[in-house]
Subunit: 507 residues, 2 copies
Amino acid sequence: MEMKQLTFSLQSSLLLISLIFVTTSVSFKIPRLSPTGGQFIHGNYWTQSRPSEASSPAFDPKDFQTFYYNQTLDHFNFRYDSFNTFQQRYLINSKHWGGSNISAPILAYLGAEESIDVDIPIIGFLPENAIHFQALQIYIEHRYYGESIPFGSREVAFKNASTLGYFNSAQAIADYAEILIHVKKQLHAEHSPVIVIGGSYGGMLASWFRLKYPHVALGALASSAPILYFDDIVPPETGYYSIVTKDFQEASETCYQIIKKSWSEIDNIASKPKGLSSLGKKFRTCRRLTKSSELKDYLKSMYASAAQYDGPPNYPVTVVCAGIDGASSTEDILTKIFAGVVAYTGNLSCYVNQPKSLTETDVGWGWQTCSDMVIPISVNNDTMFPPYKFDVDEYINKCKATYGVPPRPNWVTTYFGGHDIKLTLSRFASNIIFSNGLRDPYSIGGVLEDISDSVVAVHAKNGSHCLDILTSDHTTDPDWLVNQRKSEVRIIKGWIAKYYADLQALQ
Amino acid sequence: MEMKQLTFSLQSSLLLISLIFVTTSVSFKIPRLSPTGGQFIHGNYWTQSRPSEASSPAFDPKDFQTFYYNQTLDHFNFRYDSFNTFQQRYLINSKHWGGSNISAPILAYLGAEESIDVDIPIIGFLPENAIHFQALQIYIEHRYYGESIPFGSREVAFKNASTLGYFNSAQAIADYAEILIHVKKQLHAEHSPVIVIGGSYGGMLASWFRLKYPHVALGALASSAPILYFDDIVPPETGYYSIVTKDFQEASETCYQIIKKSWSEIDNIASKPKGLSSLGKKFRTCRRLTKSSELKDYLKSMYASAAQYDGPPNYPVTVVCAGIDGASSTEDILTKIFAGVVAYTGNLSCYVNQPKSLTETDVGWGWQTCSDMVIPISVNNDTMFPPYKFDVDEYINKCKATYGVPPRPNWVTTYFGGHDIKLTLSRFASNIIFSNGLRDPYSIGGVLEDISDSVVAVHAKNGSHCLDILTSDHTTDPDWLVNQRKSEVRIIKGWIAKYYADLQALQ
């Protein structure tokens, strides 16, 4: 184990990726999956203003040690190339650990589509609960993100499908298995129960990890993990944008109506001579609009982001609607919409079409959505958005054009399942919490019903994306959120207690 | 689905492989894992004389249809090459199937390290029980065996690690998942419960399949599956050759003593001038011996094979010992041993060092034991054999020298588990039968204790390798074997009944 003092480099995680051959156009219909939303393509309110983005009082960078594991490039192949290795980063905080002699637990955060540096300061669940579990904390970075880049450099790793091919969820969880086995061995903690924790895509990884590696992890907390948003499991009459719509309609019927009417108004103006220029002026765009979809995509992303992260203390959906509803009733529709934009983003020198660079997450998630993470998001007729039917063939062609290889839209359900999940798992598997906030549009692809006594759904009607695992704030967190977290801790303690009883009985 | 009439080509499965660059020397310490033993490196009694090798009366080639599935070369990678496909063969027998409208069950035999043609006629469990389950029977060939060869030809597929790399157990069970999902879809039988069945290596695949793809298979019958014979799970004081020894000692103490003394006698003679020639004469070897290990390896394999397949009606261990014990007491040790050889193999024009060609199984299993199937078989001091300590470094070096890539001795336990299996699976997983015959030396690496109510061990004190799934013979099968099979069927019926109840409750 090579050791290094932890130096947080949030800057480096915002590294600008200049590999312009990668476009995110194919995936713009798939809102970014992330606990933080920090890199949501069009920016969002949440990370700019949520007080708890400031890291938890329980979090202290000095408590962390950084390690690098010599990771196998391809776990499932024995070609010469498969044996190449890369340095995979993980961090350990043993401040509260009870030690191997009592087989004290391990809380393992499974990294997702960003540098682990982004997550560590904001995932409060581990540092806040480690003391109650006497738990070791470990945070593992996902391959191809942060410092855990194969092939020696980001340039080579992201060059094309021959180097990107190893970048997928099955390989990622095999990485986690190897590292957790290695760490337990190093610490002589073979019998320490491991609880894996992840949010969003990382939450999917956590639940899949428990399903595929029950001998490595005793249980999983899968926060806002839309493991059912694959194939045709989400019924066609609902979907991500249906929940966004519901959130807005519940916040304000007038706001919802205005948004609903705004799209044809935009099209209408855009179709007139100098219409784009007129729209540009109205929305004070940073650069001139070249097509109306630039504006519409911006707005769609803003509403989606507001809904996905519609949590305390500011509830961005309410903020957007306060802007829209607050505009004088005599104003035209798009002036009201713009008031919503300003309310959401704050006062800026310009809006829409901001110059932006692709982040490593944009690039990485762009590939992932074109390999195994094919999340088929349609926009139904009954939403406040222009309808859009996900077309898998078109999607495949776009991915092929970008990467030279097609995605595998059925692989997730083949490998991890999802269809008839209650039927298939009610007498198989154990110890998974699927937590969801029902305001989070991704919750429509989440597990919202208990599957069995120990594969359970915990959801909060007013919750948003990954809220439960983020740093808590005792001044602003509502009771239901405090209780949700307590209930999750209680469930996990139950698993661990049973495990210790089993361990004792078998020894 | 391309269809083809089934034409059994047992001949083709005995195809001589002339790829002489592949040696099996690195794996000779690992007795072949197979329900049939047909290609056990040094031949064996069992397939030559067991009456039930004649196929089951329930088996009729005309009932089978052959299909080929366009299989993905690499399920876990998105490199360009990963998308190559090959034609994977599977056969369906729908004679007794109750149909999709009643979601009648599917019994799926998971092919192992041989052509599926070898297994179909002798795996009686499916044809004999299909009628009781109203089950569809499906038999799937393992990649790189039989007709299911990637890269267009055996020559290319087996050329070196760059084409062999895709040949491993994780890829193989992913193949099975794809085919079973495909078949269920084609037959509109999405809710038909699938029971996977396999023997030996195929039994490992069956149990691992249930663990990794519970959404595809409801349950698994894993016959003689030594899933614990990896890493250091089998305790050092026992092992494969300890069970061989026990079998012989139980059959005849004198026989055991003679075998035990024979090794030093062979060494003794071999060390004398013209000693090898003298040994060659005594054992009527087909070609002259160039070293005494040729004779010793032959004998070791014969004893191992006799023990592994020590089943009714002939019980080859008893046959060997009858030969040894039947020789006149005044004869020398090696004359007695030779009498055992003759008793086991029958009257041949010559013995030992027969000219032989590598079968496709020799070649395929040679690779598999040098990639993920690293079964660390030592020979302990208390056996009737010369002791041998499995040396993982030496093993790795031999594999590297042969294939240019090392094996991954820890991969099976990383991916599939095995350590503390009761602790890890007692509250996870369901519906697996681990069946073993305790005379089978591989049973020492099997699961011999119930793990939970539905992950159960069924073992027969006098059973041998895979006996329960082979064609039954009502004239010679002992009661315990008949009862073992009945008990397995009863357990599987219980799983299916619960499944149908769940299905009804959820619909």
